[in-house]
Homo-oligomer: 270 residues x 2
């Protein structure tokens, strides 16, 4: 039976999930998880405690409880449940207080709240990525922090969106299409922003699979066309000395952080 896991927070519970997921992914097991965010009142906390205790009674195993609860009186109720507490926030707060010589002054919703430094800039970046997706306009290339290039369906859109959402990067993206292949070159708006360009490439067989699921048995999705486009675009990247990476076996997190690592663009945190 898959071990049961609770992620609990008086905020969004995103931090509890990210942390717990990272720790549990070290184990070769499947877990069954339930996330309970916004546990902000004593009544709600008592209710969650009952849920944890019921789980213990039903399964005979003490469930794992990952929590990031800022309010002490809420935390105490969860502590008093039958769950096994993994309180990653407070485990590290005491040693940090000692080292920094400053007391922690927990404020609810500070981690993922809107008061966060730079929130507007982040929303601007998301809007920028949307407005400058898929080469729909070249008007704002001068304002971009980064322009991703590549063939259709190589991962440009999810990567641009992730870069804007997670790191506040203004990322545009520009596709090379079938029609460009005879005489592949950079448009002027990209030429004058050469330092912002970053290429994505992909294994043609994988590209073929992805395109097939969008537009079956078309020229666009044929393996021949996929091979041609990838080859031409990679040659362009080399000719123009545009750095590029292969997205085939990488997640958006890996693609995005690799690009920031190579370009030296700053990672903002929200």
């Amino acid at each position: 039976m898959a071990p049961k896991v609770f992620y609990i927070s008086d905020g969004t519970a995103i931090t509890a999930e990210v942390f717990g997921h990272a720790v549990l992914s070290q184990f070769p097991l499947e877990f069954e998880s339930l996330t309970i965010p916004f546990v902000e009142t004593l009544t709600k906390a008592e209710q969650v405690k009952r849920q944890i205790n019921d789980c213990f009674i039903t399964t005979g195993e003490r469930p794992l409880v990952f929590h990031s609860i800022v309010k002490a009186e809420i935390r105490d109720i969860i502590y008093s449940s039958e769950g096994l507490d993994y309180d990653f926030l407070n485990t590290f707060v005491a040693p940090l207080e000692q080292h920094l010589g400053v007391s922690a002054s927990p404020v609810l919703h500070r981690t993922h709240g809107k008061a966060n430094h730079g929130y507007e800039a982040r929303i601007d970046a998301i809007n920028f990525a949307m407005d400058n997706d898929d080469g729909q306009t070249m008007k704002h290339m001068d304002q971009a922090d980064l322009v991703l290039l590549g063939v259709s369906r190589c991962g440009k859109t999810p990567s641009s969106l992730y870069l804007s959402m997670q790191f506040g990067i203004k990322a545009a993206n520009y596709p090379f299409t079938e029609d460009d292949m005879d005489n592949l070159k950079l448009p002027d708006a990209l030429k004058r922003n050469k330092k912002k360009l970053f290429g994505l490439t992909i294994d043609p067989v994988r590209l073929h699979e992805i395109r097939q699921s969008r537009m079956e048995n078309s020229r666009y999705s044929s393996l021949k066309q996929c091979r041609l486009e990838v080859k031409e675009v990679e040659m362009l990247f080399k000719r123009e000395r545009i750095p590029y990476i292969d997205t085939t076996n990488h997640s958006v997190e890996e693609i995005a952080t690799k690009i920031l690592d190579v370009t030296g663009l700053e990672r903002h945190m929200f």
Copy 2:
């Protein structure tokens, strides 16, 4: 002087950042941080160790080091630096091994790698959110998990994208515009998907500010128009019994998790 912080990982370092950021946000201090991802070789690890030690020599203070390093030989090098290590992964792995009766078998890139369960579904959700943004088509409403409704610039697009990216939810969104105000009603494609509808609203004064920065001194951005649209749309939400929340003081994380909490939609983890 702002305390120095290093986020280090042999993967993307996103988990180290999220964790460190959550812990440090408990303190009323500004920190100066540097993230170093993909520390995958001994040479790179030695280089990072020198960077940490140089920071100690320059500032006279031991920098804080948050790391999530899976490979033991890389971790040992970072441990041997002058930094103060906060190893949140391993702190919790030993007690979990004991409770689960299973040894951890760390695999690099398992947390944010592509091998993750459901990665394709996540990319599909992101593409869905893009293709069904801002009411550009009503064709796919039957396939949506969720449809966000609201006036222009109340937060629909960033919220839909976040829901798709972070939780794998297929979220469409549909705007009510100036022209709809005389006779506000739900289009048929939304009526037959009534259970998927969720409303966003916003303080008209804040809306006016946001619209002013997009289209100054237009009818669209006037306070009068903002007040009218918000009032009409909130009345529609009430009339049609569509649940809704006010986005004015909330981040995309808070909006997204609140929606999932109210609707009971499942949070997928990637």
